[in-house]
Structure formats: C-alpha cells, structure tokens
Symmetry: none
Subunit: 199 residues, 4 copies
DNA sequence: TATTAATCGAGACGGTACGTCCGGTCTTAAA
DNA sequence: TTTAAGACCGGACGTACCGTCTCGATTAATA
C-alpha cells in the first residue's frame, strides 16, 4: 500500500518550480504588499499549481520569508565588520549604512512586512534568528569582544546587552517613527554608545 | 440637499453600540488572538450589525486598536514618572515594570499583534503615537530634562536620542528575542544608560 | 398613554410626498426594471424618508403597482368598447390594439414585471382585478351580452368562459412567446372566436 | 496556456453535488416558497459551498428552474396524447388533468413562482420552451394535425393559433383568477374549442 | 528501455469571511 | 404629528481565498 499524504521526497522536487514560486512571491510582495498577497496569486504568477506550494511550504509567511531570505542571504553571508582598531570608526561604518537602509522608502514596505511577520510567527522568528539576525549579532559581538580585549570596553561588559544597545535604539526609531533617521543620528548614537560601553 | 454615501454624523452615533463593539473586540482578541479575530465575530458578540462597525471603523485593525487604546488610555493618562532626584532609582522604577510587562506571557499575544498592526498601518501608528506613545515619551523627556538641569546629564544631550536609548534596547530584545528580559536586565540597562548620558 | 405604531391618519397625509413617491417609483421601474428597484432608491429619488413609504404601503410591489395603476386608471376608466352591431368588427377593434400594445417592446419590461408581481402576490392580484381587469372584463361581457341578445351568439353561452377565450390565447402567446403577435394574428383569432361562440 | 476567470469545465463537474443542489432547491422551494428561498440556504442544505452553485448557475431563478425541469422532464418526456379518433374525448383527456393540476393548491405556489420567473428572464423562458413547453405543444399540434387529416378540423387551420386556443384560456383563468377551474370548465372549453376549430 | 510511482499544472470542491446592499424599525430635529 | 434624514440590527448577497481533493500529463528513478 502506498503511503498517503506523507512528507514529499525532496530529491524529486522541481527546482524550476521552486525558483518560479520564490520569484513570484518576491515580485508580488513588492507590488501588492504582504497583506494583499495570496497563495493563489503566487501560484498563478509562477505558473504552478497551488498544491505545489502547499507541498513545500506550510504558510504564506513561510514562502515570502523564504523568498526574502533567498534574496538577502548571499549579501548577509559575506558580512564581516571591519576591525580597524578604531572602534568609533568601525561602529560608524556599521550604523551609517544600517541607518541608510532603514531610511530608504523602498525598503520600508517589505521591511515592515517581514518584521511584522517575524514578530507574529514564532517559527519564522526562529528561522530569522538562525539565518540572518544570528550571524549579524555574532559578528557584532566578535567586534565588541575584540575591543574589550584591547581595553576599549569595560571588562565586565555584558555583550548581549551591548548588542541591544547598538541596534535597539535605531530599530525603535525606525519602527515607531520617533524621529528622523540619518547619518547624524547614526554618528550621535555611536558617541553615546561609546560612553555607555567604555570602562 | 442630501449628501450621498458620505461620512456619518457622529452626533447620532449610538454610544451603547460603540461600547459593546470595543468590549467584544477586546474580549475576542484575548480569546482568539488577533489573526483569528473576525469582524463578523465582533458584530455577533456585540449584538450589532456589521454595517455599524464598518460605518465607524475602516478596518479590523482599527477596531482592535481602538479597543486597546480605550483600555490603556486611562492608565496611561495618569502616568507620571517619579522624580525623586535620584535618576538611577527613577529609571529603574521605569524600566523594571516595563520589563515585567514585556516578560508577561499574557501580554505577549496581544502586544505583538498590536505592535505588528501599528508598524504596518501608518494611520494606526500616527494614532498610537498621538494617544499612547507620545505622552509616554513626553514625560520621559521631562524627567531627563529635569536631570539635565540638575547637572546629572550632559548639557548638550539630545533628548530624543536619549529616549531611544532608554526604550529601544528593551523593545528590541522583546521583539526579536535576543535574550531574557528580567529585572537584572533592566538594572544593567539603567547602569549603561547612565554612563551613556552622563556629562 | 399614546397609541404606538398604529394605523396612521390618512387625513394628515402629505399629498406632495405621495405624488413624489409614485413618480419616483414609476421612473425607477422603467429605468432599472422592477427587480432592481429598491425602497431606498425610491425614497432617495422622491426626497422622502423611508418611513414615509413604509407608513403608507405594505411592500415594494404595492408601491410600484400603485404607481402603475395611477398611470393607467384614467385611460382604463374611460374604456368603452364600440357597439356598432358588427360583432366581428368590434372584436377586431378590441384585439388589434391589444395585440399592438403587447407587441410593443417598450411595454414588454414593465408589463411582464407587473404581471409577475400580480401572479405572486394575492393582494395585488385582488387589487388588479378590482381596479383594472374587472372593469375591462365587465365591458367585454356587456358587449358579448349585447350580441347574444341580437342572436349573434349562442343563447346558453357562458360569458365568463367566452371572455377567457377572447383574452386568454393572446395573453398566452405573449407570456410564453409561442408565436408572433400582430394584426393578422388578432384578425385570425377573431374569426376563430366567432366560430366558437356562434349559435 | 491557462484561460483566466473563464467558464468552468463541465467534465470535471461533481455530479453528486449537482444532484444535492437540485434536490435541496426543490425541497426548500416547496417548504419556503420561491421568494423566501436563498442561495445560502440551498448551499447549506445541499452541504455544498456557495461558490459551487455560482459556478454552475447564474441566478437563484436558474437553480430552482433547473430543479423544476429535472423533476418534470421525465414525466414530460413520456407525454403522448391519446389518439382514439374521438377528438372531443381526447381533448377532454388533455384538459381535465391540466385543470386538475392548476386547481391543486399544492401546485399553486411553485407553479406561480416558476411562471413568474420564466416571464421575467428571457433565458429561462427559452429553456422552458425548449425542454418542457415545446414538446407539449408539439404533441398537441400532432394530435390536431391528425384530426385535420381525418377531416374533423378545418383544412386551412393555423395549428399554432389552435394551440393557443387550447391552452390560453385555461392559463389565463389560472393566472388571473377570472373564475373557478374545474372539470365542468374543462369540458365546456372543449366544446367551444371544437366549434372554433371545426371546418 | 520499459515500468512505475511521485510530482506537476490545473482547477473543482466545502468552507469562512469579506465588504456591500437593502429590508424594516427606531430615533431625532424641523416644520 | 408627520416628515426627512439616517443610524440601527439583521441577513443575504456575490466574491475572494483558504487548504484539500481529484484529475490526466509529465518526469525521474527503478527494474
């Protein structure tokens, strides 16, 4: 007797369809926004049966998120913070581009959609932490640890708290719109951070 | 001459229905969670026609959000930070309860839902800032300004940035789950903040 | 204690509104067809509150029907069949215009709508018989009775059955579209009728 | 290439659902009457999604009408008028049961509803003529033609007009209630018909 | 190389909720 | 008191998608 409705065999998966689905999802997400996006539309755009989507992804969020990851993982994969020895400069080199991206209106929609999705679905949050956020925080902690060893930071500094301090305020301002986000803000933030973290 | 299909007259609004809708929305939001909540269910629970909801609110998000505001505004209205002169103690008195609320699993579901709703709908964000966030930031800035005048903080401190520093890291950790949220974290954060903000 | 929701006092009725309602109903019936007609639309067009319609008419059908009657009663009131002594000629003078009206596409829509309404609502049927159909059948029977007295028709002829024979076939052909309706048909029908009714 | 939002494929139609819908429609039509019948109720009773009804029928009228046709087509399929050579007897055998059915209160409600629906919707009228009325008129004409050949009817008789004479008066009396419908009426009508149609 | 089993595109299906429309009732202010 | 205006509860409308379920028709691994 054949197994019914079991997990499918990844070996037989149609790579062509997988790509078409991710592409369609990405396109539609930017065109319509996440909320107005539907599985049916993705299937239609990708020229794919709905079942092919449901076979490989558990939810709309998972598809879109996968598309987002596929687009960002490459770039994120190669992320490495500079370590010039000048902590202030290095932090500026980190926060300035971050501020720039957050201030970009094109990033606005998809960024907020993904962010909302992540904070509502624990599964997606876990995956986001594993594949994107985690590595970023890792290298950030590494850089701070390096500064710590160099005596630029307090010896007993809690690096997890430090990382929250680095990214939290910027993230807060972006999500809640408490003020403008620009280079000056990034620079001022770096100064405040250094005061907070120094020995 | 009669206007056709125009905005309704608030003077003729049925207060009884308005209350019933907000109450039903609040109840259902906690029972089912925001995502599973439907306008139809709210209308049924409130003993109200669907049209009466659509007449006064543009979306499900707006209703739930209004219910949330109605529930929190009172308490928020009376918010005043202590000003004992001891800034460290006052900040702890601010951040400890905040951490406690964020760590409360009961707050988790509705909090994240509202947060996601806010960051996706600019209208709701604006209203949130006007009615809840704004006043909170205001009193926070006031307290910091008071400390500034007392010479406890840098004279040239940017209070908006300072506020981001106060609330941002905690918010970040809560949304992205980068670490545990407890009293120790709140206290450590206060110490770091004082270092960052001191003259 | 005042009587609540009792029958209204016709003496205080606003004639201006009554006219406006009937006119609006007639206009909208021809513009939209009976099925798409709504009480709300009539009230809006007439510049009248919905309640004013519900106060004086029990249903949409009643309003439209009343409008139809108001428009046709005058003309129907003055109906009198010719009695030239030549029964064949007089029947032709009766059926030819009838055929012409039924064949008129402009009459098609409203005619069928009224007809359908009548056959579905016993109340309307009763009123239709009382105010329009009754008088018509009456004068028809009168003319046949006159011919009967003149020896042109069978003495024992059942006049009610005779009237069915006069109007029934034409009506049948019109409603079910079993064939073309024109002057030739009317004339042929008259010939057949005479054979059927003669002594 | 896929056609978008086009007509569905009848080959994939679920016969089980089709039957359930027609049955539910027939039941509800007799229970509630046509006017109080809703698509939602049909779908619920049939255990079917609303969309499945809308996919295959354009309107409530079409469904009910289809149910009516499905119920009556069998019986109508086997209809054959007797041809005993005695035209009077054969016509009585035709009109007496017809009168009986029309006089049956149980037939009243659904009969009038279908009749009204037919006369308002040209599409339904066409289908009614094709599937029920047409065959009936056909066999009627055949019987009359047979009598014509036997010299019992006028040679130049217009059979279409003759058929209107046979069915029209009865139909007229039924729809407009111009008099009682019973066996005596049917018999008297047959006598009048024979006079009208004889050579 | 033929067989066989899974995936695929397609789309009908039972459902749920949507947002709109309108029925019929009730309330209010003006006439 | 009636009226115009229109908010109200209720409920059906017709639509959009959901996630499941057949259907052949590929298509890729096995025999």
């Amino acid at each position: 007797m054949a197994r019914t409705s079991s997990t499918p065999d990844p070996a037989r998966r149609n790579e062509r369809s997988r790509q078409a689905i991710l592409t369609a999802a990405a396109e539609l997400a930017t065109e319509l926004g996440y909320a107005k996006l539907t599985i049916e539309a993705i299937a239609a755009r990708a020229g794919v049966g709905k079942q092919t989507i449901y076979r490989w992804w558990p939810s709309k969020g998972a598809v879109v998120f996968d598309a987002f990851l596929a687009a960002n993982e490459n770039e994120a994969g190669g992320l490495d913070l500079p370590d010039t020895g000048d902590l202030a400069a290095d932090l500026r080199a980190l926060l300035r581009p971050a501020a720039e991206q957050l201030a970009d209106p094109a990033f606005e929609r998809v960024g907020r959609a993904i962010s909302a999705e992540i904070q509502l679905d624990p599964t997606l949050l876990r995956e986001y932490r594993a594949r994107l956020l985690g590595p970023l925080l890792e290298v950030t902690r590494d850089r701070l640890r390096s500064a710590q060893r160099a005596g630029q930071l307090a010896e007993d500094l809690d690096l997890d708290l430090a990382v929250d301090l680095v990214y939290g305020p910027l993230h807060y301002r972006w999500l809640l719109g408490t003020g403008p986000i620009d280079q000056a803000y990034a620079d001022a933030m770096v100064e405040a951070l250094l005061r907070a973290l120094r020995p």
